[in-house]
C-alpha cells in the first residue's frame, strides 16, 4: 500500500482513512506493507520506532503494536498531501533555514534539486516513485494499492516492476482541491494513474462520477468504497471535567481552511445567524491557505468577536472541541467524501453537511444544504440552536447510523476488488 499520510503524520482526512482501512485489513488477516514518505521536520518521531534509519534509501520500518500484519516503509520527504507548490517551496526554505541555524550556514548545495530532496513537488513525487519501486523489489505482495495522486507514479512503477495489479484509491481529485482552476500537472498525474490502474476505488458516487466524466475513465473500472469511522472505544472524557459551562452555543467548522471547504459560506451564514440570535460563537478549527483571508473576512463582516480561530487541532483537542460544540457545519464546495461529519456524529454532535459531499450519500440523519445557499445554512443553524428536539433527534439517529458504518466493511470491499483484479490477471 502506497500512501503519504498515516497517524500521527496527518493533516486531513486521508491519513485517518488510510489508518482505518489498514487497521481493518489487518484485522481481516491481510498482510499490508505500508510505504509512506516521512517529513524530515516531524515533531512526532518519538511515536515511531525507526528500525533501519541508515542507508541512502532511508527505509525505516514503523511498528505500531496494534497492527500485527502491517509493516511500514518510510521515505524521507517533506511531501505534504494538501500543499500547493508555493507552500511546498516555503517549507523547503524553512527547512533550509533551520539546517543553517543548526549547522552554521553550511548547507549542501545538492539539497535543492539534488539527490536527497526534490526541488519541487513534482520531482518529489517522482523521487518517491523511484524509491518506492526499489523498496518494492525486496518485498512480496499480490496487489499494489495507491492512495491519491502523489503515490500514483510510485504505484505505476511498482506495478510495472512487479507485474502485480494496480489499484488507485481516489480520496479527492484536483477538481475538489482547486475548483475549475486545476493544476494541469497534477491532473495529468491523476489521469495517468487512473488509466494505468486495473481498478479505481472512489470514496463516493460523487467522486466516481467526476472520475468518469472529467478523467474519461470507463465506469466498469471504477468502484465505490465508502469510508467509515473509528469507534471511540473508551471515551471517558466528560463535560464536567472540562469545566466549561454551556451558556453560549458553539457552532463548529473543523477542517482545512481552503477553497474546497467553503469557509466563506460558513462566515456568511454566521453573519446571518448573528442577526437573529446573539448567544452563539462560531469556532473555526483548522488551518489552511485561506485562514488569513477568513480572519479578515470575519472582521469585515463585523462578527470578528464572535468567530474564534483555533488553528490546526489534533487528538485530544479535537475531542474537546467536539464535546463543546452544539453543531458541526461542513459547507464544502466539493467534498469527495468527508470523514469529519462521521466523527462529529460519533462524538454526539449533530451535523449540517453540503449536498455536494460524498458523505451525504451515506448519511440520512443529517441536515443537508447547498453550499452556496447561505440563507438556508443560517436557517438550519438557527433551527438546531433554537429547537432542542431537532438536535436530540439528529444526534440519536445520526449516531446509530454512524455505528453501522464500519471500516471492516470497507476493507472487505477492497479485498473483493483485490481478488477481482487477481482473477483478471
Amino acid at each position: 500500500m502506497l500512501g503519504w499520510e498515516f497517524p500521527p503524520f496527518i493533516s486531513g482526512g486521508l491519513g485517518t482513512a488510510c489508518y482505518g482501512l489498514t487497521k481493518a485489513l489487518d484485522q481481516l488477516g491481510i498482510n499490508v506493507i505500508f510505504c509512506l514518505p516521512k517529513t524530515v521536520e516531524s515533531d512526532y518521531t518519538l511515536h515511531v520506532k525507526l528500525l533501519t534509519p541508515s542507508s541512502q534509501l532511508s527505509a525505516a520500518t514503523l511498528n505500531l503494536s496494534e497492527l500485527k500484519n502491517v509493516t511500514f516503509r518510510t521515505i524521507k520527504s517533506p511531501l505534504q498531501p494538501y500543499s500547493t507548490p508555493d507552500i511546498y517551496q516555503r517549507r523547503i526554505e524553512e527547512t533550509l533555514r533551520q539546517k543553517r541555524g543548526i549547522h552554521g550556514g553550511n548547507v549542501d548545495s545538492a539539497f535543492i534539486g539534488g539527490t536527497h530532496y526534490g526541488g519541487n513537488m513534482y520531482d518529489e513525487v517522482h523521487r518517491y516513485a523511484a524509491v518506492a519501486a526499489e523498496l518494492a523489489a525486496s518485498e512480496q505482495f499480490d496487489v499494489v494499492h495507491a492512495h491519491d495522486w502523489m503515490t500514483y507514479p510510485a504505484g505505476i512503477a511498482v506495478a510495472a516492476i512487479s507485474g502485480k495489479p494496480l489499484i488507485v484509491h481516489v480520496h479527492s481529485t484536483e477538481f475538489d482541491r482547486s475548483g475549475e482552476n486545476v493544476n494541469q500537472m497534477i491532473y495529468d498525474i491523476e489521469r495517468r494513474g487512473m488509466e494505468h490502474a486495473d481498478k479505481v476505488i472512489a470514496v463516493s458516487h460523487f467522486t466516481r462520477s467526476v472520475i468518469i466524466s472529467r478523467y474519461g475513465i470507463s465506469g466498469e473500472k471504477v468502484e465505490v468504497v465508502y469510508n467509515s469511522v473509528q469507534r471511540n472505544g473508551n471515551n471517558n472524557w466528560t463535560l464536567a471535567e472540562s469545566g466549561i459551562k454551556k451558556d453560549e452555543k458553539i457552532v463548529l467548522f473543523l477542517g482545512r481552511i481552503t477553497m474546497q471547504k467553503g469557509p466563506e459560506y460558513f462566515l456568511q451564514a454566521a453573519k446571518k445567524v448573528l442577526e437573529v440570535m446573539d448567544n452563539v460563537k462560531f469556532v473555526m478549527a483548522g488551518s489552511g491557505d485561506l485562514m488569513h483571508r477568513s480572519i479578515e473576512m470575519a472582521a469585515g463582516l463585523g462578527i470578528g468577536q464572535k468567530v474564534l480561530f483555533t488553528g490546526f487541532l489534533r487528538g485530544e483537542d479535537v475531542r474537546k472541541i467536539y464535546e463543546m460544540a452544539d453543531l458541526y457545519v461542513m459547507p464544502s464546495v466539493s467534498e469527495p467524501f468527508g470523514i469529519a461529519p462521521l466523527e462529529a456524529l460519533n462524538n454526539d454532535v449533530p451535523v449540517i453537511i453540503s449536498k455536494q459531499s460524498g458523505v451525504s450519500e451515506v448519511l440520512a440523519h443529517a441536515l443537508k444544504v447547498d453550499f452556496w445557499d447561505v440563507n438556508e445554512i443560517a436557517n438550519k443553524i438557527i433551527a438546531v440552536l433554537k429547537y432542542p428536539p431537532l438536535g436530540v433527534t439528529l444526534r440519536n439517529y445520526g449516531n446509530s447510523e454512524v455505528r453501522k458504518l464500519r471500516w471492516k466493511d470497507s476493507a472487505q470491499k477492497c479485498l473483493k476488488i483485490y481478488e477481482d483484479t487477481l482473477v483478471a490477471v
Partner: protein
C-alpha cells in the same frame, strides 16, 4: 356471507411552502404545489373513481353502496382548484346510495390535545357536509382511525352519532372476528365498526405486489374469500387514493372495482350496506376494551407515525400550547392558519421511522427529510406566535421554554427514543 361495507377516506393536506426563520409574512402554504397535486390526484383518482362508482351505483340500481369521509381541508382545495370533483361527489350523494361520515374538519390530532378544539372541528365538518351534500353524518371516524375507550365515550356524549370506526387490530380483538358490530367499553348506545384489515389491505396495499402469493387479485378471487367468511359485516376501509394514485391505473385496480359488485351480488346472500344501515340492522355481539390508543397506520397500529420522536412531540405540544393565544387574538385568519397547521400530515412528514431505509413514508412526503419538515413547521409556528401577540417580537423563543416538558412527555407516550 356477510354485508360488505365500503368506506373511503378522501384527504389532501395543505402543504407548507419553504419558510425560513428570516421570513416575516403570513403566507404559509404552497398554493402552486397544492393546486398542482390536487389537479393531478383529481385526474388520476377522484374523477375516474367517482365516475366508475357512480356508474356502478346506477347499474345495480341501489344494490351497490359506499361511504366517504371527505376532510374539510380537501373540500376547500377541491372548491378552489378542481370544482368539478365536488359536483361528481354531489352526483354520488344524490343517488341515495352514498353515506358521508363525520371527522375533524382539519384532519387533525386535536383529540389528543384539546377536547374543545376537537369538538369544534367535528361541528365545523358536520355543518360543511350537511351544507354541501344535504346529509347529517351519523357515524364518526377519527383521524387515521386513532381510537380508544375514552374517545368512544366522548363521541357518545355528544349525542350526535350512532357509531364510531376503528382498526380491527389483532391485539384488541384477540380470537374475536372484526366481522361483527361491537360495543366500545364504557358506552351504552354507541356501536363500533371495526376494519377488516386483512381484506382491506389486500386491495389497498397488496393489490399490485407481484411478490404476493395471491397476485394477481381478481374480483372472482376476492368474492370467493368473501363468500367463505361468516359474520354480519365486512368492513373494507381504505384511502380513496388507492384507486389510481397508490395503485396506478395500469395495475388494473379500476377493472377490479368494476367487476367486484357484479361478482359479489351473484351470491344472493351477499349485499352492500352503508355504515348507518349496518348499525341499524345489527346488534353488538360483545364489548371491546381499548385502553391504549390505536390507529390504522403501519405495522405497529399505534401513534408512532405522528408522535414517534422528539421533534413530532415538540411540534404538537408547541402547536396546541398556542390555542389560548390564538383564540384570544380573535382574528379569523390567525385561527384558520393555526387550524390548518393541525393537519396530521405535517407531523407524519417528521417521522424518522424507517426514514433511512426509504419506504412508503417517503413517497408522499414533500420534504427531503423529516428534519427539514420540522424546521419548516417550527419556523411557521414561530411566526404565527408572533402574530398572536400583535406582531411584536417579544415572544420569539417559542419552542424553548417548554421543551424539557415536551421531551419527558415524549418518552412517556411513545418510548421511542429510549
Amino acid at each position: 356471507m356477510a354485508s360488505i361495507c365500503f368506506y373511503f377516506q378522501v384527504h389532501q393536506p395543505l402543504r407548507l411552502r419553504h419558510y425560513t426563520v428570516f421570513d416575516k409574512n403570513d403566507r404559509y402554504f404552497d398554493d402552486y404545489k397544492n393546486a398542482s397535486i390536487c389537479r393531478k390526484v383529481a385526474d388520476k383518482c377522484y374523477l375516474p373513481a367517482n365516475r366508475l362508482l357512480l356508474e356502478m351505483i346506477r347499474r345495480f340500481q341501489g344494490e351497490f353502496k359506499i361511504a366517504y369521509s371527505l376532510t374539510g381541508v380537501l373540500l376547500e382545495q377541491l372548491q378552489l382548484f378542481t370544482p368539478e370533483v365536488i359536483s361528481t361527489f354531489d352526483a354520488l350523494a344524490e343517488t341515495g346510495c352514498v353515506e358521508f361520515l363525520a371527522e375533524t374538519y382539519y384532519h387533525s390530532l386535536s383529540y389528543l390535545y384539546s377536547y374543545d378544539e376537537f369538538i369544534e372541528q367535528i361541528n365545523k365538518h358536520t355543518e360543511t357536509i350537511e351544507h354541501l351534500f344535504g346529509q347529517k353524518p351519523k357515524v364518526f371516524r377519527n383521524t387515521e382511525l386513532i381510537y380508544n375507550n375514552e374517545l368512544a365515550a366522548l363521541i357518545e356524549s355528544t349525542g350526535k352519532f350512532d357509531a364510531i370506526m376503528a382498526e380491527g387490530a389483532d391485539h384488541i380483538l384477540g380470537f374475536r372476528s372484526p366481522n361483527f358490530l361491537y360495543r366500545p367499553k364504557g358506552c351504552n348506545k354507541l356501536k363500533l365498526l371495526l376494519k377488516n384489515y386483512q381484506l382491506s389491505d389486500d386491495i389497498a396495499f397488496r393489490f399490485s405486489n407481484r411478490d404476493w402469493s395471491q397476485w394477481p387479485l381478481t374480483a372472482d378471487k376476492f368474492t370467493a374469500w368473501i363468500n367463505n367468511i361468516s359474520g354480519d359485516v365486512i368492513n373494507l376501509f381504505m384511502d380513496y387514493e388507492t384507486f389510481g394514485e397508490h395503485q396506478w391505473k395500469d395495475t388494473g385496480i379500476f377493472d377490479f372495482m368494476r367487476h367486484l359488485p357484479e361478482q359479489v351480488l351473484k351470491n344472493p346472500n351477499n349485499d352492500f350496506k352503508t355504515p348507518s344501515e349496518v348499525v341499524q340492522l345489527f346488534q353488538p355481539v360483545d364489548t371491546v376494551d381499548v385502553p391504549h390508543l390505536i390507529s390504522w397506520a403501519d405495522i405497529e397500529r399505534d401513534l408512532s407515525a405522528w408522535l414517534g420522536n422528539a421533534m413530532q412531540s415538540n411540534a404538537l405540544h408547541e402547536l396546541y400550547r398556542l390555542e389560548k393565544d390564538v383564540k384570544k387574538a380573535s382574528d379569523d385568519k390567525i385561527i384558520t392558519d393555526w387550524r390548518k397547521l393541525q393537519t396530521s400530515d405535517h407531523f407524519y412528514y417528521m417521522c424518522t421511522k424507517y426514514f433511512a431505509d426509504g419506504d412508503v413514508h417517503k413517497y408522499f412526503n414533500p420534504y427531503d427529510s423529516p428534519y427539514d419538515s420540522y424546521i419548516n413547521f417550527m419556523n411557521v409556528l414561530g411566526n404565527l406566535h408572533k402574530r398572536c401577540s400583535g406582531g411584536t417580537t417579544g415572544n420569539t423563543s417559542c419552542g424553548l421554554s417548554k421543551n424539557k416538558d415536551s421531551l419527558n412527555l415524549e418518552t412517556q407516550t411513545a418510548g421511542y427514543l429510549s
